[in-house]
């Protein structure tokens, strides 16, 4: 289990190798990589160009929140390896923002836990996106779809 919050970019290949090397119980590795998009889709149709994104976070609380989300995934699924790397600071379209990787003996658990981690970190980890657009800086609002995606995993 590992969580990192950093300003620097990460090397996906190196991260995944480090995560799985030496663990022969892993049969499947599911990976999500979030990238900075060059446009923001608002209200489903209106598109603004995004020149850059600045990610602000709450140092200390961010790491704790990500560790708790990771621990919850490990309670729910039989996982062999989990990794969350989330960047902060200024990024341009095409740059990597976040890496979530989950290794398990079987693919079902890896796919499900990876999706769970992404859904929960979007709504439970203290990050805020500020977009640099032709109209000026705009704070990204929370999306109802993200709340709905996260709510799917709430225990009934």
């Amino acid at each position: 289990m590992s969580v990192r919050v950093q300003e620097a970019d990460f090397d996906i290949g190196a991260e995944l190798s480090r995560l799985t090397d030496g663990n022969r119980r892993i049969g499947g590795l599911a990976v999500f990589v979030g990238l900075v998009r060059e446009m923001h889709v608002r209200e489903g149709y209106h598109r603004d160009r995004v020149d850059a994104l600045t990610l602000e976070h709450y140092p200390g609380m961010t790491e704790t929140a990500l560790q708790e989300i990771e621990a919850e995934a490990n309670r729910r699924w039989p996982l062999e390896a989990t990794l969350i790397v989330h960047r902060y600071g200024r990024m341009e379209p095409g740059e990597r923002i976040v890496l979530v990787a989950v290794g398990s003996p079987h693919r079902e658990a890896a796919f499900e836990a990876c999706e769970f981690l992404v859904d929960w970190l979007k709504t439970k980890a203290p990050f805020w996106k500020l977009e640099d657009t032709p109209k000026g800086e705009q704070w990204v609002g929370a999306h109802q779809e993200d709340d709905a995606a996260a709510a799917r995993w709430e225990k009934k």
């Binding site: 979030g34 990610l55 602000e56 976070h57 709450y58 200390g60 609380m61 704790t64 929140a65 989330h86 923002i97 976040v98 992404v118 970190l121 979007k122 709504t123 439970k124 980890a125 203290p126 990050f127 805020w128 996106k129 500020l130 704070w139 990204v140 609002g141 929370a142 999306h143 993200d146």
Partner: protein, 83 residues
């Protein structure tokens, strides 16, 4: 105690953090919000009733009924938009 503001709330209030000593009777996060509004027009706007923001007490997400007893740091922030 230290109060911290994040994202647009930091700009609206005008400072990223401040040290405050709430008077007796300010027992919960909700009490603190009401008291902080009186500090400036920026505070009143950022912490307005109906504004979408959350709180954390000592770096743990907290609802407005959470008691402040012994809290060292209280943060206010808009809904999270990471990932």
């Amino acid at each position: 105690m230290k109060i911290r503001y994040f994202a647009w709330m930091k700009r609206t209030v005008g400072v990223p953090e401040e040290e405050v000593t709430p008077p007796a009777g300010i027992d919960t996060v909700g009490d603190l919000v009401v008291w902080l509004r009186s500090r400036s027009s920026g505070h009143a706007e950022a912490l307005a009733e109906g504004a979408a923001f959350g709180a954390a007490v000592d770096q743990r997400t907290a609802t407005f009924d959470v008691k402040l007893a012994g809290a060292r740091e209280v943060a206010f922030f808009p809904p999270f938009t990471g990932g």
